[in-house]
Symmetry: C2
Subunit: 415 residues, 2 copies
Amino acid sequence: MALMKINFPRLQNTIETLAAIGRSDADHGLYRMAFSENDLQARDWLKSQIEAAGLEYFQDEAANIHARLNWDGKRASVMTGSHLDTVPGAGHLDGALGVLAGLECLRCLKEQGVDLKLPLESVAFTDEEGRFGGMLGSQAMSGRLTPELIHNAKDLDGHMLSEVMTHLGMPPLNILRARRQPESIHAFVELHIEQGPVLEQQRMCIGVVDAIAGLVRWNIRLLGEANHAGTTPMNMRKDPLQGFAEVAAALARILEENGSPRSTATIGYVNCFPGAANVVPGRVEFSLDMRDTDMQVLDDLAQAFRKSISAIARRRDLMFEYDEVSRLQAAACDSGIVDCIGKVCREFGYHSMQMHSGAAHDSMMMAGITRTAMIFVPSMAGRSHSPAEWTPWEEIEKGSNVLLNTLYRLASEAA
Amino acid sequence: MALMKINFPRLQNTIETLAAIGRSDADHGLYRMAFSENDLQARDWLKSQIEAAGLEYFQDEAANIHARLNWDGKRASVMTGSHLDTVPGAGHLDGALGVLAGLECLRCLKEQGVDLKLPLESVAFTDEEGRFGGMLGSQAMSGRLTPELIHNAKDLDGHMLSEVMTHLGMPPLNILRARRQPESIHAFVELHIEQGPVLEQQRMCIGVVDAIAGLVRWNIRLLGEANHAGTTPMNMRKDPLQGFAEVAAALARILEENGSPRSTATIGYVNCFPGAANVVPGRVEFSLDMRDTDMQVLDDLAQAFRKSISAIARRRDLMFEYDEVSRLQAAACDSGIVDCIGKVCREFGYHSMQMHSGAAHDSMMMAGITRTAMIFVPSMAGRSHSPAEWTPWEEIEKGSNVLLNTLYRLASEAA
């Protein structure tokens, strides 16, 4: 099959234009949190781009914005997409790249008038970054939301999702209507920056994502006895910070013994109470974030941590409590699409490698209703969620070319 | 020598009366921070008690309150004392016991008209607990203060010591005049609650303190690289929290290898940044409090910690920085007074043991200018700096009897 190329100057121009919407003069970071003024401005701009390209504009009940090509409401579509919203102080590529490269792909396919068996859609999903919980639009589209989740969704400032949507003229419970039937989507492919250091270190242009890691996150408390640091001999202490140290120092061993090469375990937060230099702590609280692409491995890993922390607490006469605060199911990517992406890379002569995504993406939700895969481009120094986020333009061009040809081939398949 | 006994109901009454001054209805804790309204009220009450007992009242330029018996300004005095001020939310014995038992001893000696070769003083030292730095009155009396220290002393709310004293009609630099010449004090003995669990666990009534531990305290920072917890493989991390865990888990070993049986090492504070469950920390800050009664041991211990943390940081590619935020010299107690206290205990038939004090006390300062020792009574469950602070009344009576006879014997010695 012939290899097509995107119009790179046009893509670069749209990326630079969107990067100016919501940019702070103070830290040069982007502030396009979902449904903020900046997010709404970006949505309006995207709508104008879709219409100017002669594509069909559609916004569903979850405020996901679709650009559509050859849509007839009957045939399944080949879908791509990502998100316009950002974390506070974000870079210019996380989410935006997938939305704008998807739009560029549809433009190219339309301009070049190629024969397509299936319609195409490029989607900007609502609130991927989690002002109201994360992956809201793709959860809605894949049918994971419930009235209760919608009713309770609240941001850190206490604003309710339902109030924000009502204010924008969107009945909140109608979000449930954004659900798509699996047979209405032929495949989903998302282009995204890696947000990690692997591709750069391996000197690869393209990561072909074959799985998205699942996640289990605990808040853990170890309770002992607060005592005077001077008057309490070492052998009369019940020091939960010493228990924590033993847990944290065993983390690598527990991971190596019970995890897979793709497992990670991270303690990102720790605090002790009362937290004074001259007081043996009485309580330590910390987080434990565990990830793997295989839920069985992940559950085994969590079980191993639970046993280890229990044993340490028992020996040290501490109380051990934990809450599971997050659980995300791992998602396997479709081997057919993974093969297709790999083949396109080889035909272009782009160095590519198969890898997993340790971060969650809209693709994780979409994998629940359709064949899904992701294309990663390198993140310099692994930096993301920061104004330092950067991918060289030539890598962006390569990733977008891979997306274009992958979508083209998927849309040329027999449905 | 005959054994005398204090008037226990009278002592109990004064302890209960003072315990009502500054007590919070909310948490039943005492709030008599130095120079607060409650502290001033306690000072007025103590003055009235001294005068009612027919003892001489004297307040020096550091606001230390003295009760004096047979004072003539020529002979060296036998001194006892402790402090009236408290930490916020304190118990009723820390400091107060030593002041009131001292006053009771002078009352007894006066009433019983015993022959004394030397005058006696019972002192309530100013700001032992550290609103303005700690052991302020005993530092003044032992000549450790400088105009600079006085000028810079500030509480947590930003109030300057110099302003507070000026407001009370006391020229701040006159604090320096509270310095006593070593030859003006024959000996100093302080009765105090242990504030630790040792006496109770050993079923002892009296602790005879033979040394007060010195202290070195560091604030330590380990600097690595903040990264995404999902996308950064374990082997590409520079995680300072893992470095911290290794340090904290090595604490017991380092202490056992380099310390003495009296050494303690405590991490009472730890925090990591940015401190989010899904981010590998980029910076960890923690405190390290090291104590021993032998400064050479303490310095060796600190050196061992420095080498261990350096090695761990080097291997993990972290930066290691620390500040020494406190250093207190250890103080040896006078063996003659220690022997005298032990002898009194044996004569009474009270179970006693020699021990060190892991906490700092006014005695630590007084040891710099005169022969010093301390008498400890048990703290139930080691609790202190809390409304749960408690010593059974019979133990208080025994400790006060030991103080009385020790002071009597010291004041009967040839000067």
